[in-house]
């Protein structure tokens, strides 16, 4: 199997005006994985995807997709990449089967069976007009159009956005179905941590235009840890703790979320002499929110301490 990454960027940067939307992005997506591309709104996910597909010129830096320079993607490369756009837009006036007919003319490897399968999965009538479809149905149709050419690389820009639970489940099923062939790569951006938890092998997190994390899902879960310290009296003030993301202060209790929790962190915490100290398992969503949420110390008893001068 080809060991070359399907997506590789080096110093990929895009400015809008004076503000960088993506800054110095170095990313490698190995073949055959399901890769989740995460970040808050406006962190540069869509900008990155549009650059990868040659729809937006990078301000500087370079990138390649399936081995082709992203600035000049040849038609052969595009034929091997399925791209589901953010808004699931299609031609309103077309019927479902016309969409398929239109798309199929461009792809030599068009698999009508897959197309029929996907639109059947989403309960779409071939004679329905696009303008009468619901958001989820449109997503299904787009997905069918994207999957039927049997692309090697599937790029999905926030595919779950605006889907109802049923359509959402169909989408996830389609994604799992797609992993049947081990040389297929899925690169998707999402805000649905549940989806990431189900299907992602790897995640990358963009935090305000900068890539901060790129690892396996397991590594991410292990890297972000919460520890609960109990104290007989009010918790002592916090020293400088490496990798501290958030600290919650409650009566007799200090809850800290850290990245890179290790021996150094533990030593620094033990020095506070807590009565009890235990690790609290975090859900993926909590870990993600701590990671991208506001940094620093918060207190549940802030108002009380302020009330006592």
């Amino acid at each position: 199997m080809n060991e070359q990454p399907v997506i590789r960027t080096q110093g990929l940067t895009r400015y809008f005006g004076a503000k960088p939307a993506v800054y110095d992005l170095n990313l490698e997506v190995p073949r055959g994985c399901v890769f989740a591309f995460l970040g808050r709104n406006g962190s540069g996910k869509t900008t990155t995807i549009r650059m990868l597909l040659g729809l937006l010129q990078p301000t500087r830096g370079e990138g390649s997709i399936l081995g082709h320079d992203i600035r000049s993607l040849p038609p052969e490369a595009r034929a091997r990449i399925g791209y589901l756009t953010e808004e699931h837009q299609l031609y309103d006036w077309m019927r479902v089967k016309e969409c398929g007919g239109f798309q199929s003319q461009f792809y030599p490897r068009w698999n009508e069976k897959i197309f029929r399968g996907v639109i059947g999965h989403f309960n779409l009538k071939p004679t329905a007009r696009v303008k009468d479809l619901s958001r989820g149905e449109r997503a299904g149709l787009c997905l069918g159009l994207t999957l039927a050419p049997e692309p090697e690389l599937l790029v999905l820009d926030d595919p779950a956005m605006g889907l109802d639970p049923v359509a959402h489940r169909s989408l996830m099923e389609s994604m799992v179905y797609l992993t049947r062939r081990s040389d297929r790569t899925i690169f998707f951006s999402s805000h649905q941590l549940a989806d990431v938890e189900r299907v992602a092998d790897y995640i990358a997190i963009l935090d305000r235009s900068v890539l901060r994390m790129c690892c396996s899902l397991e590594t991410f879960r292990n890297s972000v840890q919460q520890v609960r310290l109990r104290f007989p009296g009010p918790p002592p003030p916090l020293p400088d703790i490496p990798g501290l993301l958030q600290a919650f202060r409650a009566e007799g209790e200090l809850r800290l979320t850290c990245v890179h929790y290790g021996a150094t962190t533990e030593k620094a915490l033990r020095a506070l002499a807590p009565a009890q100290m235990e690790m609290v398992p975090l859900s993926l969503e909590d870990a993600f929110i701590s990671y991208l949420g506001e940094r620093g110390e918060k207190s549940f008893i802030l108002s009380e301490t302020e009330a006592q001068p």
Binding site: M1, E3, G11, T13, Y15, G17, A18, K19, P20, D24, E28, V29, P30, R31, G32, C33, R50, L53, G54, L55, L56, Q57, T59, R60, R71, P75, E76, R78, I81, Y83, T85, E86, E87, Q89, L90, Y91, W93, F102, Q103, Q105, F106, Y107, S182, D201, Y202, D207, V210, R212, M213, C214, C215, S216, T219, F220, S223, P242, G243, V259, H260, Y291
Partner: protein, 691 residues
């Protein structure tokens, strides 16, 4: 490609059908208007009749032109905008085909729809007009050439519309600048003489706009990332737009700021034969002084005479511009009616036209709207060409056609027309000139003389008082029955003095003859040629004569306003415009004005160079743009400003100077950009292929 074309056809069919409907409506209305006119002809005065739309095929051109421009632009814009405003653009572009193919798919479909929407109604309209009994006016296929050119130039608006939809610019107006090319080509028609000139401009404009659109497909509307031809074409496509914006701004500013000083002085003659200099200023009151500079005073009030009062004293003046060239009156082919035929006069049952192709008056029955026959020097004939004999009819008489309804001429003879009886009568022949009248000092060989122009004079609305006949040798005044009242020497007036005016003074025996130099001759002489004025009496001949210096002259000397405006215009354009003429002449180039716009261009040069340095253009780009400013002046600089997407600048961590962000290395010190600062939360793992 076929799929793309079919998709575009389906997608925009509605718009095309809408356009087709609107054009059909426009044309149907003009057909309807024509019928209404024919039915109510009695209610329209003779002088108004001249300007009626006698041939609807030709007179609807302006409406068709507006329609084609607007429809073309909307269609082009819509074809792009449809996908662009949603993210369908990404869906469209991300397919395994080249950008070029997508471009051609759109353009081929768009042009097909354009042809459908404009062609069908026009073909219907032409078919309607060609069926005998519908249009009572001459028709020849050449009359449709302007229409064809207008429809063809609509495609430029189509591409300009596409470019507007495609372009990524900071504000929408600068996206629409491409329309300037189409406007420029449209306006060129007004000064074009030849078909090839029109086709040439459409071709050039079309190539520029289409290439700019093609380039835009590669970069999704940005300048950066386009192939070189696309960048060049985009530059060329925006420049004329800036030219228009600037020229309009300059004209507006000059109008607003300098208008108060604007005045014009001209000579006027009163009924007693006195000459005054009348200066029209801002207000209603003109400054009226005699040739010595003494103000004309109202004898009752003792104050300067009022303009209205003075205008009542001014004598009747009849103008005539002779043309001795042998060619059949050709005129500008774009100049519609007068070129092909001229409405002559309507009798109660017949419409008469002078048709240049046959040199005869042709008649159409008003009731049946069918051709009835033609009238030539030999009389009436059932056919359009008769026995082949022709009248001479200079195109410049067109403007006075309303006053020339009763008289027409050949090279030697003046005929009185009796259209009611479809007959002509020779009233004056050069070779047989009656010598009963007082002849004035001149000798000439009558056999070599030809009539270069005649004018019918009506001092009171419906009378026929005199006929003026001009040959190279003489200017004559005839009575309606052809008797020569006087003749005055014209030689050697022609061709330098081609502007003749006859003033009819209070005493019916007294006249004045004004000879003015042509604009071209005056230009060559640097404004030094005087106007010649001769006072005549029917019995005594020439009473006196005088030369008057030219009061204003815009041949070689230019007003301050013109100089200021030319600052805003491309030097290249200033050189080119005078060349688009019937006979391009290098000496028509206004070098003085060209110099002014070159000065403006030279000022642009350092500004542009400095901007180029600031944004670190490469040396070839620097030189190329510098040449561009020199040739295109201020519009060139503005084009530079609007095509470039100015990258942000940041302080270099190494040399601390500001550097552009779209280069891999600092242009000053070559340092890289700093990687993002670490915040301690990074988790990176080397990812391997799973399984």
């Amino acid at each position: 490609m076929k799929t793309l074309i079919l998709k575009e056809l389906r997608e925009n069919l509605k718009l095309a059908v809408l356009g087709l409907g609107i054009l059909t409506l426009i044309l149907a209305l003009s057909a309807l208007k024509y019928s209404t006119i024919l039915k109510n002809l009695g209610g329209i005065s003779d002088s108004q009749q001249t300007y009626l739309p006698w041939q609807p095929l030709v007179s609807s051109d302006i409406l068709i032109g507006f329609f084609c421009a607007i429809f073309g632009a909307v269609l082009g814009w819509f074809q792009i905008h449809n996908e662009r405003h949603r993210d369908l653009w990404a869906f469209l572009i991300h397919r395994p085909t080249t950008h070029t193919e997508i471009f051609f798919g759109k353009v081929i479909a768009g042009l097909m729809l354009y042809v459908l929407a404009t062609g069908l109604p026009l073909i219907g309209f032409i078919a309607w007009a060609l069926v005998p009994g519908h249009v009572a006016a001459p028709f020849q296929w050449a009359m449709l050439r302007p229409t064809a050119i207008i429809v063809l130039s609509g495609t430029l608006y189509y591409f300009a519309g596409m470019l507007t939809g495609l372009r990524q610019a900071r504000w929408y107006a600068s996206r629409a600048l491409g329309v300037g090319v189409a406007l420029f080509v449209s306006l060129m028609f007004q000064s074009e003489w030849h078909l090839w000139q029109a086709l040439f401009f459409i071709l050039i404009g079309g190539i520029i706009l289409a290439t700019a659109v093609w380039g835009g497909f590669h970069s999704h509307g940005y300048y950066r990332g386009q192939p070189a031809p696309g960048r060049l074409a985009l530059t060329g496509a925006l420049m004329p737009g800036w030219g228009f914006v600037l020229a309009l701004t300059a004209i507006l500013l000059v109008e607003l700021l300098l208008r108060s000083t604007y005045s014009q002085t001209q000579y006027q003659m009163t009924k007693d034969g006195a000459i005054y200099k009348v200066t029209q200023g801002d207000g209603d009151q003109s400054n009226i002084v005699d040739l010595q500079g003494k103000p004309l005073v109202d004898s009752k009030t003792g104050r300067m005479i009022g303009t209205a009062d003075f205008n009542r004293r001014v004598c009747t003046l009849v103008k005539i511009k002779p043309d001795f060239s042998d060619r059949a009156p050709r005129g500008r082919w774009f100049n519609r009616d007068c070129n092909r035929f001229t409405f002559w006069r309507a009798t109660p049952d017949t419409l008469w036209y002078y048709w240049g192709r046959y040199g005869r008056l042709v008649g159409y029955d008003i009731a049946t709207r069918r051709f009835i026959g033609s009238l030539g020097p030999d009389g009436f004939a059932q056919t359009v060409s008769g026995d082949g004999s022709r009248f001479r009819f200079g195109d410049d008489r067109n403007g006075f056609a309303a006053a020339s309804r009763r008289v027409i001429n050949t090279a030697q003879t003046v005929y009185a027309l009796d259209l009611e009886h479809r007959a002509t009568k020779a009233i004056f022949t050069l070779t047989n000139e009656s010598s009963g009248a007082t002849t004035l000092s001149a000798t000439t060989n009558a056999a070599n003389e030809t009539i270069g122009g005649i004018a019918e004079v009506s001092l009171n609305s419906n009378d026929w008082d005199y006929t003026i006949v001009v040959t190279r040798g003489y200017i004559r005044l005839l009575t309606p029955d052809g008797k020569v009242l006087w003749r005055a020497a014209y030689k050697p007036g022609y061709p330098d003095y081609n502007w003749i005016q006859v003033a009819f003074l209070d005493s019916s025996n007294q006249f004045a003859l004004w000879l003015s130099p042509s604009w071209y001759a005056q230009g060559k002489a640097g404004g030094k040629l005087p106007k010649q004025v001769v006072w005549l009496d029917r019995e005594q001949g020439v009473l006196k004569s005088t030369d008057l210096p030219e009061l204003f002259h815009n041949g070689r000397e230019f007003a301050r306003e013109q100089k200021l405006i030319s600052l805003s215009i491309s030097p290249a354009l200033m050189v080119m415009i005078p060349l688009i003429n019937e006979q391009p002449r290098l000496e028509d180039i206004p070098w003085v004005l060209v110099r002014y716009s070159l000065v403006a261009a030279l000022v642009c040069l350092p500004i542009g160079w400095w901007l180029g340095l600031r944004y670190s253009l490469s040396l070839p780009a620097h030189l190329g743009w510098a040449a561009f400013y020199l040739v295109f002046g201020i519009p060139g600089l503005l084009t530079f400003l609007s095509v470039q997407e100015w990258p942000a600048r940041e302080s270099c961590p190494n040399c601390k100077k500001l550097r552009v962000v779209d280069r891999e290395h600092c242009e000053h010190c070559g340092a890289d950009f700093a990687p993002p600062e670490k915040n301690g939360t990074e988790v990176f793992e080397s990812l391997t292929t799973v399984k």
